[in-house]
Structure formats: structure tokens, C-alpha cells
Symmetry: C2
Subunit: 675 residues, 2 copies
């Protein structure tokens, strides 16, 4: 992957650079780094910059990229990228353009630094368990979705789905903590979540691998008859900041493997769009000499874009036109057909992404085994429906005529997956197989925003390697910002020092601020603690995070002050029968009380409040040997409970380095043996 | 915190900078960033660099710092920082100087991206459980220690302790995975681990909060009599790559709160040094009107440096001069006194760090409530012991005369904690309260390596904020590299966008390559997923990580090929009574078999091998609903088992985006209901 060095000769005089050409970017530079990495002081400007560039073999492009991404101490990143953590089960908050990991948000997986899964939050994890199955303590977080108002991010809430277990989580962006996990009783897995409608009325969760709805047993031989696809519309109650399960519903779909969804916006508001693969109804069985899924599900030239009239679906649900499966309302497929809720359109071939243009006019679909992106017109779709220009699929769903609904096709390259938009009339599509990111022009109302012809490939920039999703700044809203694109690459191979056989992913920041053939790679960010699947990039000033919790005694699980929470002066230990309630406070640099003694066999309920009001004055609380660690942010109250079965002398202490006397912030927990 | 801009006027002509003065570093720059952050292309060299610097308000110092830390795509960091994750329970591998997080190593906390705690590795976690207590699924990882040969890092193994539960873990640096967790049966917490002796013969684990050894119940009123301190010497078997518990032992110490330890090296090899606080024997009780620990443990002007003749201790252990407590050999305090194994020296006041100079001549101690570092001479200590220049403490331990053993004291500032060394005769001490890092000169054999007088403060550089440990490149070995220092700051307050009330830590990279008053801040790295406590920085080329596992069917838990592991061609499902063994392979892009059907009530043991041989061709394996996710690196075999209690239709799929047909890499798991 040779890096661009053509401009160097011309520029070296101007910058006074004497080296920097040629082999930079090769891993073998590492040894040169060890000799030269730090030979120049940072205090003497131009001559020093020259020396550093020479010693570190940096090109002029490198210096510019460094300057475009470097954050001096105290400077805040103007954008935040909310990236799913993939099978880490978490969400990552990354500053853009510095590509620094600001924090992990624990969602589906217990995480002791945040105390997630050790105190009150455990109830939220438990509410997300799959009924009848063991507790789930991880997730495969896939598609983060910021809440929207009028189709634009409003910075209030973040949703994220768990592909592995068919779940959706709600994160409050005031404290960046998970508040709710809902388990879908219909499906054991999902994929096309958690895109939101333009005012966050609904959070979309589309299925993936079909099963009988409700996951009852049915032999694989009954696939076509008993297995079903689905999409679920979770109603979001903005006042409560929670999904209202009692007002949510699902739609039965054919057992195609639904994949991604996107909500219509502006002209297409009130509709949602999804895609699917395995319209072949392949059931695998490589062990019996049958084609594996990878072959069986890739035979047809077309799969089906799903076109759903959400307003009509809601009306059908509200009119009671549903069945209940495992207690959850499901609009039957035949109802969706007969009521004109569901239409298909052919889409080439094994589609992956479906993305709606900022104004809602176009649906861009990428068939990963077809070198084109296919652009559908919402207007033409409406016309085809009005004209009844369709024929039924094998389940009776009307399939619109391809030529009647397609606006354009653009040949972008091999393995196109996902598309994002900017403010200059460009669309960007990831190309898994090349691997690269393609910039191409939209037509219609976007045609005048850039100098190139409509529906034309403009540039491809290589990425390293195997890109899945991409994210541009606010690039899936009604008003994309442009400026930056992040390529979420799945393989990194030689890009970073290989810390064992399990390699980091590579998130590459690309400058997309200039029109034409001018995309530039700025930064490689290794991410070796999860596999970000999709990300959204939001202007940081849209959020209003809390510096400390609003009141002392705050319960983050309910986002309200907890009645009876411990506070300064009311610390105590109460016994009722064999239940012991501990009411404790934490402040720099001690707990009150410092001794807690119970009897073997007691049930202990332990409440702690951090009574600090200073930002960053977090205390931890570890009860050694009891698998408990809490993170108590200023004002927070947390609670845990356990049976004191084992007699002994135990200790507790502050795990968050809070003060010069932090080590002294400790106490003794004694369990007196039974006589 | 005003940033240095004095040189700007002189330099702006040379670099062509027209802005960049003044307020950069203020969070309010964020809005300017949004307008200007990405206005310039990265392709046009000097003029572009000028434009970017102007638009982004970067000073000449900023440009140099950016150039000193920027890594062009594909360039590998020359150093790796192994940082503990604090109460995340993990270890972070960070590239230096780019300060990019290359990967997290799961140690004490289950982590699904790595599959840690979901397959075979669960046994390693379980072996670390505290006997009689619930399973521990987190840790407070504190002090990483790289294995050493002749006092220098050899890049083979990393040790890390869990303060919260008194445990030590062993990580193999060929695959960066945890191989062993040993639980200390004597103590429910620890602190001064896991420093190693110069050839990694022993891994040191010092105690923290005293309890009865073995943690039996004893009322707090019996503190002085029944509570004990301890240090444990874990024998490391380098051939096996594991701690040999059967050859490990502990020493009883007074119930002072032992804190950090360091091993002697070169001239002091064969000795170890620790410190302590709470020689007051304070027992807290603020709830009863007694002084809290923070006050009670800070009353005396001196605590005690612990000086231990390790050779004699090993001889006593090998001679059987121990008692067994909970089955673990402990050398009694009186034996250590009578055999000349243990000595104390007064150290001012509430000491935290103790660090041995590269040649082993000096022990540097920081009393966090004293503005000096105190430097002890090993030679003088030996002389004082020979002269019997000591008096006993209340437990009879000989306390050496302070004036007889001190070489120097250097006033460095407020709240000194920890000291590291470089190759130019400087020592660096973190100052928690200022907060700053102080550079000062060593004397003796180090005196000629720099221009300044011996034992003199040279410079203090502010850090942001509340620094705990610091790490210089190979700075605690016999041959420090200098070049870089990382300040592990506990508070970040205003440095980064505040993602909720729980703020990131701030790891600041400082250039220490030039002598004199020339330390320069280079980079702020937020770390919002753990609280790194200590770190070591090693030259990357000292490690030899595996690209893929050596053979197909590799078991990372034993680092050997697993007999009978699934491989291509022998995939099958075997039933024996109600146990079903699944032998499965994974390869791009399918599992074999793709259907697994069992009967309700069966016990299922599921073995999977990733038969890939290409680097980075990792596959995941999620069994939806069963709380299972594996990460299968090329060649790896993993195993999990469960009871199939709930009938139904379930799915499994690859969680690591492996290929264009990754989504098709899936299968069906059917549990047939009982008749």
C-alpha cells in the first residue's frame, strides 16, 4: 500500500524537509523509531519540526494529517462517534478527529470499572434475560442509533441492539449509562436494529436468521412453513426515556433473512425500508453434502427490498389486527399484504445495506455480490404501488417492477455494503472486497451541490482492510455535516504491532471536506477490545451531559433521587430479623461506617451514597471476596445484597484513586461465625 | 493551565504561521473546530500545513508534538506500554508514542470479544476463585510486571495482581492471553504485586489491609494481636510458564499496611524492599467518633521501609522453618527476626513508592505527606546491619538508624508518590498534590551522566491531574531507555469532552529525551474503560508474538495441541447416553455441521476448531440464548458445555466479520422437546 509522496520534491524546500520520502508506512520503520523517535525537543519550532520529520521519516502529507488530528491538551473533540462494540456487547464513545477513545459504555456485558452488573444495574441486565434461558452476560452490539427530532440527532438517547440474543438497549446520554434492555420474545437473534423514525416514535428491530416466531421447536425440514422473518417496532416514550413495551408490536415477514432497515424521512416519512437475503430459503446442511448457507443463500440474482407503510402498520396494530405470540402482538403476513402495508422490490444480489438519502427521496441498496449500488426512487415506488405494477412472491407479497422503481445504478466496485451521505451531494459506499470507500454523486435535488455529473463514481480510496460499515458526520440524518468519514475496517493485519493472534480492528479517519478526487486518509485507530459494527458521529455540542448527578442520593437506574438513600448524618446499620441494612456514605477520604459486623447467615443489603458534589470526585467500592465493585459518581447511590454465608474478616476499600489519602479509604467487614 | 506560547513570534515567520497564539487548549475551541476542523486538504504540503495550523489554532509546539506522536498508516509503535486496567480487572496494551490502545487483555473479568470466560478459559477464572466465596468475575488489577532476565525485560510473560481479592495472574506474551490465576489463601486483598526478582525466580505479592492470615474471624479489638501483614513469594516455573504454588511461600509481617515492593538488582540482588503505612495500627471507626483511617493512619512522622534478605528467606523456607496456614507455608515473624531476614528503616511519612535504582545501589522512597524523596543506600544498609545499628519496633523487628542508612533527601514537592529512572542519571517522581512530575538528579555512579549537581531538583512539569504512577521506557529495569515518560493521571476534569459524570483517566506522554529543563508534554490520552494504576513500557522488538496458533487444534489454556480436537474431515456429533459431543470446524464462511439437534435434557459438550492458517482470520461463535461467545483465532480449539433444558429453535453464527459471506456463516441448534 504505497503512500502518496509525489508532492514531496516541490514542498520540501518550503517546509525545509530533507527526508520523509519513500518507505514510510512500512512496519520496518519501527527500529528507526527506537533510535530517532524522541530526539528533538518540542520547544523550538520550525527547525525542530524539520528534525522530527526527518528523524521519523514523515512526509508532508503525514505532517498535515498529524496537524488535522492532533488535540492539544485540554482541547475537546468537536464530534463524538458512538460506535457499537460488536461482540464486546458495549458501546464506544470516540472523539473525532483525534480518534481517542473517551469512554466505553457498558451495555450488555458486566463491567466493573463502571460498576455495571454489580449493583442496582444488575436488575436492568436481568430484565434483558431471555425467558427460560440462563442469564445473558454479553451481547453482540450492532447498530447504535441516536434519538432524532425532525430527522436530526437531538443528543438525548442512544439505542443499540444485541444481534446475538434479540435485544434492544436504551442509553441515557445525560450520564452515558444503560437504562433499559428489552428482550424480543419472538426472535433469538436480530440484525436490523436500532434505526429510529424521524422523531424517535419507534425504534426498529429487524430479524436475521428466521426461526418459528417465539422460538418453539420446529424441525428444519419445516423451514418454509414454520420459520418466519419479522420486524419489531418498539414504541419509545420520550418523557419516560424508556421503550414502552405495552405499545410495541411486530410484523410477521417471510422467512427471508431480514438484514438492515432504515426509516424514511422528509418526503418518505411514515415508511420504513429493509432488505433481505436468503430468499432462496436455503437451510444449509454442509455436513450432509448439501450446499452450505454461504452457497445456498447466494444463488438467486435478486433478493427483496422490503417497503413498509409504517403509518398503515400502526393503524392495523391500533385496530387490533394482530395475533399474540408469547404475549407479543404480531401483525400476520396476510394482513400486511391485504392492507397494503408491505411491498417488495427486487434488489441485486445478497443485499446488505439500505440507506435513505437525507431528503428521503432515495433508498440506496448495495448487493454485496453485485458491483453496483442501486438507487430506488420513493416517488417511483409510490407510483408503482398506485399503478399496482407488481406480481406476488411465493408468499403473496407484491413485488414491484424493478425498472419502474429504480432511479439509477452506479458501478462502484467489489463487495459494496453500506452507504452514507455528506453535505455536498456525495454518497459514500464501503467496498468490502477491494477494500475501499467509493465516493459517488447523487442526482435529483443533490445534483448541483458538486461539480461532477449525477450518479457518477468520483473516487475510491483504499482502506486497510475489509471495511464493513462507514460513518460520516451526522451522515444518516436529514442534514449531514460532511467533513469526516470513518471507515470501520474488520481486519488490520499489518497495520499495528500484532499483540497476539487476535488483532485489533482498524478505524480509519478520512478527510472528505473537499469536493472531487480529494479524499485523504488522516489516521489509523486500532481498536482491540471489540469489533465496532456501525457508528454514528454527532456534533458534541448537541449533548448536555451531567457533570455530577443532580441530587445526592441519585439512583441512575430510575434517574431520580432514591427515597431513604444514605446521606451525611444518617449513616447506620439496621437489623430486622436476619436482614441487615447498611446505610453508608463515601467522601474523600473515608467511608462511614468503617466497620460493619454481621452474623454468619445474615442477608445483607448494602446502600452507599457518594456525597461529593465536585466533578470527577468518583469513589469506587470493592467488597473483597464478594464479587462486588461499584463506581459511585458524585451524588450516586447504589445498592447490592448478598448472604453472608462464610465467616471471616474481610475488607472494603475505594477502587477509584480519589485523593492523596485514597489508600486509607477502607474498612472492615466482619462475619461472626455461628456458635 | 496556560500553554507555552512564548516562542511563537520568532517562529511564526519561519513556519509561516499566522495564528495559533493564546487560548488554544481551552475547551471553548470546540466550536471553532466545528467550523474549521477539516477545511484543508491533506495533499498540498506547506501551504496546507499553514492553513490547518491557523484554522485549528495550533502553536509551533503543537505541530512538533503532533509530528512526534503521529503514526502514518502501517507504521508500528516502537514501544508497548503494558498498563493495568485498575478495577476493570484487565490489562491494556498501548502503543508508544502514538498512545493508541492496541488491545485489552482480559484477565480477571470475563470479556466476550476475546471469548474470555465463555469457553475453556472459564476454568482459569474458576481456579482463581476465593475458596468458600462466590465466583469472582472482576479484579482490581494494579501492578503489571514483565518477566526479566538479568534485570531486563525479556518479553516472555506479564504478571498482574488483583488488589481486591488477593490474586496474581500470568499472561503469556506469545498470544497475549491469561494462563493462570492464583488466589492467595492468606489474604483477601493485596497491593505490592507483582514485582519480579531479576531472573523472574519469584513474583512478589505484598499485602495491604491486614487481616488474620487466612481471613478467619477476629474482632477488630484484637487487631494488634490477631491481624497480620504479609508478603508472598510466588515461585515462577519458566519452563512451564506457570507459577508453581507448591514451591511458593509467604512471610508473616506486622499488621502495618504493606504497600509497594521492589526487588533488589545488581549490587542488591537477593534482597527485596517494601514499604508500609499505618504503623500507628489505627483501626478506624469514624461512625463511633474515632478518627477515620485517613487521620488515624497518618499520625506518626515515620513509617517503616521493609528490608528483606530474600536469599535467607528462601533458605528458611527450604529448611522447613515455616508454619502452614490454610495449607500455605508462612515463615513466622519471630523466625524472620531471629534469622536476620527482616529489617526496617524509618521512612517519612505515609510512604507510597519504593523504587530501586538501575544499578541497585539506592532505594528511593516517597512519603506522600512529606515533600522529599528519601534515598537509602544499600551499602549503608548493609553496614548498619553489620554494625547492629538498630533498635526493635513494638514487634521486635530491628529498625535501622535513619541517619546511618540515608544517602540523600531531595525536596521535590507536594504529595510525592512514585519514582522511575532514565538513561541520563535522572529520576522522575510523581507529585499527586501539585500535580506534576519532578525530574531530579541521582548521585553516585549516575552523577556524571547529566550536567546538573547530584541530588538536585531539575524541573517540574505540570500534569492534568492528580498523577499516581508514572512509567518511563524500561524505567524500572537495570537499563532504562529514557525517551518517553507517561504520567498516569487519575482525574481529567476539563481535559476531554465529559461523557457523563464518570470521567476518563488521562495518560499524558512526556518527552524526556533532552537533558536539563526540557521535559515537554506531547499527548493526552483519555482512557475511559479502566483506571490504569501502574504501567511498564517495553521495546516492542523484545516480544515474539504468534501470528497464528502453531497447530490446528491448539488449546490456549495449555499452549499445546488438544488431542482429539475437531479438524477438517472429522466433524461429527457423538451421543453417549444423554451426553452429546459436537465436533465442529469453522472456516470462511461456514461451520461444519450447520445443524445440531439434541433432545431436551441432554448435556451438550461443544468443541470447535478454527482451521484457518491466515493471520487475522479469526472466527467468533455465538450460540444465541445460551450466554456463549467464543473468539477462535486461527488454529484455536475451544470447548463449552451446557444442559439443553429448554426446547426450541436456536441459532449460532460467526460474530467476527470474517468475509463477504460472513452473515451466511450460521447454523441451527434444535432442542427437541421431550414427549
Amino acid at each position: 500500500m504505497k503512500r502518496k509522496t509525489l508532492v514531496l520534491t516541490v514542498l520540501s524546500a518550503g517546509l525545509g524537509l530533507v527526508a520523509g520520502c519513500g518507505q514510510s508506512g512500512s512496519p520496518s520503520d519501527a527500529s528507526a523509531e527506537q533510535d530517532a523517535g524522541s530526539t528533538a525537543s518540542a520547544s523550538s519550532g520550525n527547525a525542530t519540526l524539520q528534525k522530527v520529520a526527518s528523524a521519523r521519516n514523515l512526509t508532508p502529507d503525514d505532517l498535515v494529517a498529524a496537524a488535522m488530528t492532533y488535540m492539544p491538551t485540554g482541547r475537546h473533540d468537536p464530534y463524538l462517534m458512538m460506535a457499537s462494540g460488536g461482540h464486546s456487547g458495549q458501546v464506544f464513545v470516540i472523539g473525532v478527529p483525534s480518534m481517542r477513545l473517551l469512554r466505553e459504555i457498558a451495555v450488555f456485558t458486566p463491567e466493573p470499572w463502571q460498576g455495571w452488573g454489580f449493583g442496582t444495574g444488575t436488575k436492568i441486565l436481568d430484565e434483558g434475560n431471555v425467558k427460560g434461558m440462563p442469564p445473558i452476560r454479553w451481547g453482540d452490539s450492532h447498530h447504535p442509533a441516536l434519538s432524532e427530532t425532525a430527522g436530526d440527532y437531538d443528543g438525548q438517547v442512544l439505542f443499540i441492539n444485541d444481534k446475538a440474543n434479540g435485544r434492544v438497549a436504551v442509553i441515557d446520554l445525560r450520564d452515558f449509562e444503560t437504562k433499559q434492555i428489552v428482550n424480543n420474545p419472538l426472535a433469538i437473534n436480530d440484525h436490523g436494529g436500532t434505526m429510529v423514525t424521524p422523531n424517535t416514535e419507534y425504534v426498529i428491530e429487524g430479524g436475521q436468521y428466521a426461526t418459528p416466531l417465539g422460538m418453539d421447536y420446529a424441525p428444519i425440514s419445516e423451514y418454509a412453513k414454520s420459520y418466519k422473518g419479522m420486524v419489531t417496532l418498539w414504541k419509545f416514550d420520550r418523557a419516560k426515556g424508556r421503550i414502552d413495551v405495552s405499545k410495541s408490536f411486530a410484523m410477521e415477514l417471510p422467512p427471508y433473512w431480514q438484514d438492515l432497515f432504515d426509516a424514511g424521512k422528509k418526503v418518505s416519512e411514515g415508511w420504513i425500508f429493509g432488505n433481505s437475503f436468503n430468499t432462496e430459503l436455503a437451510t444449509g446442511g454442509v455436513e450432509s453434502g448439501k450446499p452450505p448457507f454461504e452457497a445456498g443463500a447466494s444463488q438467486r440474482d435478486n433478493d427483496y427490498l422490503h417497503i413498509i407503510n409504517l403509518k398503515k402498520a400502526v393503524a392495523a396494530y391500533e385496530a387490533g389486527e394482530f395475533q399474540k405470540i408469547k404475549g407479543f402482538p404480531v401483525i400476520p403476513l396476510q394482513t400486511s399484504i391485504s392492507e397494503g402495508i408491505l411491498f417488495f422490490a427486487p434488489e441485486p444480489k445478497s443485499p446488505h445495506g439500505v440507506d435513505v438519502s437525507p431528503g428521503g427521496e432515495y433508498m440506496v441498496v448495495s448487493g454485496k455480490l453485485d458491483p453496483h449500488v442501486t438507487i430506488y426512487s420513493f416517488e417511483k415506488i409510490q407510483q408503482a404501488i398506485a399503478d399496482q405494477n407488481y406480481t406476488p412472491d411465493q408468499f403473496g407479497v407484491p413485488v414491484l417492477d424493478f425498472d419502474a422503481v429504480v432511479e439509477a445504478q452506479v458501478e462502484v466496485g467489489l463487495g459494496p455494503l453500506h452507504t452514507q451521505f455528506d453535505d455536498k451531494g456525495y454518497a459514500y459506499t464501503s467496498l468490502f472486497l477491494e477494500p475501499a470507500v467509493a465516493r459517488w454523486t447523487l442526482g435529483g435535488p443533490y445534483g448541483d451541490k458538486n461539480p461532477e455529473d449525477d450518479w457518477t463514481l468520483v473516487q475510491k480510496i483504499p482502506v486497510h482492510y475489509n471495511v464493513g460499515h462507514i460513518a460520516t458526520a451526522e451522515g444518516d440524518t436529514v442534514s449531514p455535516d460532511g467533513k469526516y468519514l470513518v471507515s470501520l475496517n474488520k481486519w488490520s493485519i499489518d497495520r499495528f504491532y500484532p499483540a497476539g493472534p487476535l488483532l485489533a480492528q482498524n478505524l480509519q479517519l478520512i478527510d472528505i471536506d473537499n469536493t472531487g478526487d480529494n479524499m485523504q486518509l488522516l489516521y489509523d485507530m486500532p481498536i482491540g477490545l471489540g469489533e465496532p459494527h456501525y457508528a454514528q458521529i454527532i456534533k458534541a455540542d448537541k449533548l448536555s451531559p451531567w457533570e455530577v448527578y443532580p441530587e445526592i442520593g441519585w439512583d441512575p437506574a430510575t434517574q431520580a433521587a432514591l427515597p431513604g438513600a444514605p446521606n451525611s448524618g444518617n449513616e447506620r446499620i439496621e437489623r430486622n430479623g436476619n436482614q441487615v441494612d447498611v446505610y453508608m456514605t463515601a467522601v474523600r477520604s473515608h467511608y462511614t461506617p468503617e466497620h460493619v459486623e454481621v452474623n454468619q447467615g445474615d442477608h445483607v443489603v448494602w446502600h452507599i451514597t457518594n456525597i461529593e458534589r465536585a466533578q470527577d470526585a468518583t469513589h469506587g467500592f470493592a467488597l473483597s471476596g464478594f464479587n462486588v465493585n461499584l463506581s459511585l459518581e458524585p451524588g450516586e447511590t447504589d445498592t447490592f445484597e448478598f448472604d453472608a454465608d462464610t465467616p471471616g474478616t474481610f475488607t472494603y476499600y475505594c477502587t477509584e484513586f480519589c485523593s492523596a489519602l485514597h489508600l486509607e479509604m477502607a474498612g472492615y467487614f466482619l462475619v461472626k461465625p455461628q456458635e
